[in-house]
């Protein structure tokens, strides 16, 4: 709870710093504040505290996921030094909006009441709509914001309607009470309750950009500034999955026979559509956008188990994915700045121009492709194991074929870096914060790839 307050105040402080033009202080203050929030969050480990008439519950689940999102945000803010200045003169707005979104995220991972879920999603989404369109003179950015806003509001309306229907059946917004209402119904459940679940499902699937609700994602990801895209594809996605699984494990686990057929079809569609579209891309950023859709599909496979193992699998997957994405985007931003292009060709010759950076990106791509000794492999391993423990063998077989397709496009980057020559042979330098972030994420990818128990033992 303290962390939510800290981050809210922090955002306000940043806005004031912006008003008084203390731009140099923005980034340090932001990450110090976030470190403080992280510390208070971790200090409540194993306490399971309720707040505000059981609106939120800070259990270990919420601590684990909120810590992941806070850490990711810290890394993104570290990268932002010097990035937002190039886009606009009001850097404070960016940081404040990111932090407001993070407040929404924290509500989403710790809600105990459906109203809180809705409020969390809205706090996050409205900040994100603004962030997507923050380059106000850029056409793509505007298109991104408009698309995201229109589709997003539509999805939120579905979610709202779903919540209302569930309230109609159970007479409560509280997750535990909903769960006991479902448990006591003796199998006599009103059709409108199922409709309610379905509507909530639509709303959540939109947020995690699962097929067939994914059409907004590529354009929004491509149009938004790269760091915002990174924030969307890591923090927002992790939080949406956390909310999704929290809701379904607590309330609807006993209805899993009704839910899983929908979920596995959606998962398979999401993986395949994301993958096949990523294969066609010439732009690195768009490839990452589509591959992020397919990663959502893999994570959905873990949800099929609807139980503690799903949270573990999703957490590992989301961590590995977030870490590798940070590396990929950090390098992409740098490369784009120099080559003025976001195609794969921009990476040509990076192996010679900056071997360290190329190695980091290679490891990140291997992690995203799920190759052993990287964190991404354990993510996939947990997901596959979880799905197979529920006997989804054909789903896993098809997911494997997709994983192989994934290698094809991730290795395009590696091939460009090491096996193609660039016309421009000047060295690309990574200094300061960027070098630090790359070092941290690369080390984390390898260490988690060898010792996944560090994370898996949290559950």
């Amino acid at each position: 709870m303290t962390s939510i307050i800290i981050i809210t105040l922090l955002a306000v402080v940043l806005l004031f710093l912006g008003v008084y033009n203390k731009t140099a202080a923005l980034v340090p203050v932001a990450y110090l504040g976030l470190l403080g929030a992280l510390a208070t969050q971790i200090s409540t480990w194993n306490t399971n505290l309720y707040y505000f008439n059981q609106m939120v519950l800070f259990d270990n689940f919420s601590i684990v996921f909120s810590s992941l999102t806070i850490v990711t945000t810290i890394l993104i803010i570290l990268l932002s030094k010097g990035y937002f200045e190039k886009i606009s003169s009001n850097v404070a707005e960016y940081l404040a909006l990111i932090l407001f979104a993070l407040v929404g995220v924290l509500c989403m991972v710790s809600f105990q009441n459906l109203t809180m879920l809705f409020i969390g999603i809205e706090i996050m989404s409205i900040s994100m709509y603004a962030l997507a369109g923050i380059r106000k003179k850029d056409l793509a950015s505007n298109e991104a914001a408009l698309k995201y806003f229109l589709m997003g509001s539509f999805a939120t309306a579905f979610l709202m309607f779903g919540i209302a229907l569930i309230y109609g059946f159970t007479g409560t917004f509280n997750l535990d009470q909903i769960a006991s209402a479902v448990g006591m119904s003796n199998g006599v459940i009103a059709p409108l309750f199922y409709a309610g679940i379905l509507f909530i499902l639509v709303g959540m699937l939109f947020k995690i950009s699962a097929a067939p609700f994914h059409f907004w994602a590529p354009d929004v990801y491509e149009g938004a500034p790269s760091l915002i895209t990174l924030f969307m594809s890591t923090v927002v996605k992790t939080a949406s999955f956390a909310a999704f699984i929290r809701l379904f494990i607590t309330c609807f686990a006993s209805l899993s026979t009704y839910l899983t057929p929908t979920l596995w079809i959606v998962a398979l569609l999401t993986i395949s559509i994301g993958n096949l579209s990523a294969l066609m891309q010439h732009s690195f950023k768009r490839m990452l956008a589509y591959s992020s859709i397919s990663h959502a599909g893999y994570m959905l496979m873990a949800i099929l188990a609807i139980g503690p193992n799903s949270s573990k699998a999703i957490f590992l997957y989301a961590s590995a994915y977030s870490i590798a994405s940070i590396t990929a985007f950090a390098i992409f931003i740098k490369v784009k700045e120099i080559a003025q292009s976001d195609s794969f060709d921009a990476f040509n010759g990076l192996g010679k121009r900056n071997p360290g950076m190329a190695l980091a990106l290679t490891i990140a791509m291997c992690s995203l492709a799920g190759i052993p000794l990287t964190a991404g492999f354990f993510g996939k391993f947990y997901v596959f194991t979880t799905a197979m423990s529920q006997n989804y063998y054909w789903l896993v077989a098809l997911a494997i074929v997709n994983a192989v397709i994934g290698i094809w496009y991730y290795f395009k980057v590696i091939i460009a870096m090491y096996m193609k020559e660039s016309t421009d042979n000047s060295t690309i330098e990574a200094r300061g914060n960027m070098a630090l972030v790359l070092f941290l994420t690369t080390m984390a990818t390898i260490i988690l790839g060898i010792f996944p128990s560090i994370l898996s033992s949290l559950f």
């Binding site: 190759i371 052993p372 000794l373 194991t385 197979m388 494997i400 192989v404 290795f411 096996m419 996944p452």
Partner: protein, 488 residues
Amino acid sequence: MITLLLLLFPALASLALLVLNTKEAKRAALIFSIVELGIALFALINFQKDASTQFLIDTTWVSSLGIHFKIGIDGISMLMVMLTTGLFPLIILSTFNKTYTAEKSFYALMMFMQAGLIGVFVSLDAFLFYTCWEAALIPVYFIAAIWGGAERIQATLKFFVYTILGSLFMLAALIYIYLQTPGAHSFDLNVFYQTALNSTAQSYLFWAFFVAFAIKMPIFPFHTWQPDTYTEAPTPATMLLSAIMLKMGVYGIIRWMIPVVPQAFQEWSWLAITLSVIGIVYASLIAFNQKDLKRLIAYSSIAHVGLIGAGVFVFNAQALQGAMIQMLSHGVNVFALFYIIYIIESRTSTREINILGGIVHSAPKLAIVFTIIMMGSIALPLTNGFVGEFLLLAGLYQYSAIATAFAGLTIILGAVYMLRMYQRVMLGEANNLTSAFKDIHGNEKTILYIVVLLVIVMGIMPNAILSISDASVQNLISIVNSKLAIIN
């Protein structure tokens, strides 16, 4: 402890090569690989020739999933470790006459691959096995894709994607078996051996494993990646792939596939043997028509591996022992053949059989060693190739005479295309390309003389090798037979 050292030393050596930033990366790599050979020899000396798994290390790795870091060496592993550690110094020495760009990365990748290979041969935990399996693949992909020939990018990506597809199916199979293990699940090999699986599941698992191992070896019809990759990869990578890496597939079948799914093996071995035998005849016939030396050896390698595959799927003592010794012989011979091709190519800048000829006049020493190695490759008695192929064919004969007749063609056809190639490349009139051919000298001499010595010693004293793996092979066969006895 010694197993851990065997596994970690090359990995650390790889890091050291990257970090130390030495100008002498070649020498450092050679020294590292010789030290590794020394460790392996030390293990060999202390090895008891019985069926037990020795130098065992077992610690928890990921406790929540029952994954253990469990490694140990039995007779079968011992031979594979000797093959790997023995060939590495030779392969590294064979690169001494050429300077690669970004040398330290090149040798670091080689050493890392050695760690992966050793890991595959010593792991007793399925998860560890899978990890090492991939850890061996990634470095060789990069070696082939970065330092290879003109068409390398497509060829190696095909190879990589192909093998990953196979190994992911193996991963799914391993996870399935893991989920069937009793109690708190485990990836332990012995638990896998004891787990009872129903026959339908076994069949699916059999084919999932088969795809993974057949792609690696490769067995017909999963071989399409192989000729292109062997041709496009730089010679050291070709050596690694053909001399050591394909044995991972054979080893996988022996250790991880047949004893785990014996019932499906009994049901489907006919098909696996048929595919292997088709591969022998098919590859031999194609080898006959090759114009490129490297491609010819690539196809001959498919033929040789086909015979090993057929023998392994017969799974009797004779055939398995034959497969063991043939894996070593094939490793040594194919390494030497690729090296000779490399020598010829580096002096004449061509691998075209048609435009070479008459090398014997200016390079008599090369001609002699080439002859001996070729005799080993076409399985002449008293050479290393003979023992293995004889045992394999004898083992196969107990299963089916017809299959043996077709498989026996490998010796005849092999002799035909190899001798024909030898005649066109080495004999005849020297032309302006080959008249100034320099005979082997220095490192080349050292390497080829060592190989010739191995070809002859292994041919005359096969028992020294066979006795190492004998007890372990018998043990595996009795495990499979006792599992089958329960079912029948």
